[in-house]
């Protein structure tokens, strides 16, 4: 008989080892899926690794796919740590694009740095604003933020569709010839395009987008905020026990709202980076096919809500996504990326129980205690 007991102490080592073992387990499971569907796992994994991290071009693309995921991952981590389940990074990122593009278009003619700063502010502001809707409902109406933020993703998607396809909005391109054939967004002014740094010592040079660096900066800020500030201390108490926080005189409602807005601002900043570094316009179809927000939740969960781990995990999942895109074809069926992400997440989620609980294999009285293998 197997008994599950809560661990009194959670050894630090476990919180690193268990996720790693879970990921290894996931690779094994995916290999089985591949074998079952007639693919050679070794071959597929090899190709996957090469297309993700194998050369400078691959690394450049991986950084590009990782950038939005760092932002949405941080957005999810910031909220989930507080037991605020903001599923709305997806929609908040859309609004970030809307805000950033509007800022750049409004600042047309200003110096590049001003335009880029304006995009960051515009993106973060709209993202925060959109996230404040579930935030306000949760803080003042005790309405479950999971479902509201989720529903608002779809509303956000419909809003950006409307802006480009069904109205002559500020964001829509109404002048260029191609726009007459198919509706599309107004392109950013050249000065508003975000720069890309070249890491030169690698042969050919790996291109590191500004957005990725901003994201890494956001991770440092977030970590400092949660670990070293009074605000972060209050958040930790509220997350652990809202009653204790109220007892200690903390203003819980304001903090809930602040965290939702912060989470939305990070996602919105991700939208700004996406528009500035990669898309250069508001592209509703493209945005809605990427699932940046939902993947961000995967990233945050795999990183166990640690901001630095978010950067790393986003880089790895970005590589997977980029490779999946590059390899799509006979020996790498589309859909495998989602399957792999899902299995990674299932394994790490399932592995969590090994951190919180310990398994004891009991025989007859006078029991022997053996650790249970990873599921």
């Amino acid at each position: 008989m197997i008994r599950i007991e809560r661990r009194l102490r959670q050894p630090r080592l476990l919180s690193v080892v268990v996720p790693l073992v879970s990921v290894g387990f996931a690779f094994g499971l995916i290999a089985l899926v591949l074998l079952a569907t007639g693919h050679d796992p070794g071959h597929t994994y090899g190709k996957l690794f090469r297309s993700a991290f194998g050369d400078t071009g691959a690394l450049t693309s991986t950084f590009a796919s990782a950038t939005p995921l760092v932002f949405t991952g941080l957005a999810a981590a910031a909220a989930f740590r507080m037991n605020l389940f903001n599923i709305g990074a997806e929609g908040q990122l859309y609004f970030g694009v809307v805000g950033a593009v509007a800022a750049a278009l409004l600042l047309h003619g200003a110096p590049g740095a001003v335009q880029i700063a304006g995009m960051c502010v515009g993106g973060a502001a709209l993202g925060a604003l959109w996230a404040s809707i579930p935030g306000i409902l949760r803080a003042f109406g005790r309405t479950n933020e999971i479902i509201t933020s989720l529903m608002l993703n779809y509303v956000a998607g419909l809003v950006i569709n409307f802006l480009i396809f069904d109205t002559h909005s500020y964001w829509r391109d109404t002048t260029s010839p191609s726009a007459a054939v198919f509706p599309q967004g107004k392109a950013l002014p050249d000065a508003a395009l975000w720069p890309v740094a070249t890491i030169t010592h690698a042969a050919g040079g790996v291109l590191l987008p500004l957005g990725f660096m901003v994201a890494a900066g956001a991770a440092i800020v977030l970590w400092t905020l949660y670990r070293h500030t009074r605000f972060g201390f209050e958040l930790n108490v509220i997350a652990d026990s809202p009653r204790a926080a109220r007892y200690a005189g903390m203003r819980t409602r304001r903090k809930i709202l602040a965290v939702m807005a912060l989470s939305g601002a990070i996602a919105g900043l991700g939208g700004a980076a996406q528009a500035g570094n990669f898309d250069h316009l508001l592209d509703p179809r493209g945005l809605q096919q990427q699932f940046y927000g939902y993947t961000g939740i995967v990233v945050a969960a795999l990183a166990r809500y640690n901001p630095f781990a978010v950067v790393l995990v986003a880089f790895l999942l970005g590589g997977l996504k980029n490779a999946g895109f590059a390899l799509q074809g006979a020996d790498f069926p589309s859909g495998l990326v989602g399957v792999m992400q899902g299995i990674f997440l299932f394994s790490v989620l399932g592995g969590e129980i090994l951190i919180r609980y310990r398994f004891r294999l009991k025989r007859e009285p006078g029991a022997a205690h053996l650790p249970e293998p990873v599921p």
Binding site: I147, F291, A301, G342, L349
Partner: protein
Amino acid sequence: MNNSIAVVIAASAVLYGTPLLYAGLGELLAERAGVLNLGVQGMMLVGAAMGFWTVQRFHVGSGGALLTAVGVAALAGAAMALIHGFLVITLRASQIVSGLALTIFAGAAGLSSYLGNDLNLASNPARHQFGAVFPSAAQHWPIVGPILFGQNLLVYASWFCVLAVGLYLSRTRPGLNVRAVGESPAAADAMGIDVIAYRYAHVLAGGAFAGVGGACFSLAITPQWVPGDEMIAGGAGWIAIALVIFAFWRPDLVLVGAYLFGAFAALPFTLQARGVTIAPELFQSLPYVMTVLVLVLVSSGVAKRRLGAPAALGLPYVREER
């Protein structure tokens, strides 16, 4: 008269509402047992894929193939739900994260697309599809003809399911037990109800219903395979989750809500065909906006006790905790 806009909209509301109805009933069963499953979108897509694959593969006559397809879709949905159930019931993982993981795993960029490719679903048109059951004379009766008699078997079966689920929850002993498991697992456990078994059973039933909901698209509404979320009209799975809240966790209201949301889904097409141009986004966003409003209402003090979610929704049950 049967071409009047109201009748056309009502008829298509029933058609488009049916998958929502199946998926919503399934989610309702799982949530009544205390398990939130956000993976409906994924379960529906896999159900749609496997249902479509079955009609293409089994050559046993139209009726047999279609019924088998519905069964396979249900099994596929239940298999997806089993993953979620194992993670959240046995391994006590977060229901939210696990449900989202299921959406990604099984959804438009995951297993359903993988299956669609590997099984070559997109290349062939449908061999069989569900059609109208009643003779065409009945379908031409004024008003009720198109709405009530012009529908396919899946629609009629869904009415039976609403009735069955409603009676099950309110009038039977296992139904009472499920409600107890969702409200207070500790009380249910103390009275000898197997909380774990009840939760598994209803999560699996929920998955089966979602699978059938997905199959409604690939076997009746748009009998073909299209990769991506478009296969199930964009976000049918998410609307189904919204629907359960909108219906205050009651099967009869799930029916009403499904047809209302179905009407919103169908309205833009119908209006467009009549030359009326209203931004389709307006109607498409209504289900989401209305659900948010209902949720705000439900979470306000007074309504919470009478209309609220099962009290233990989203919480794992652990007996031996100290």
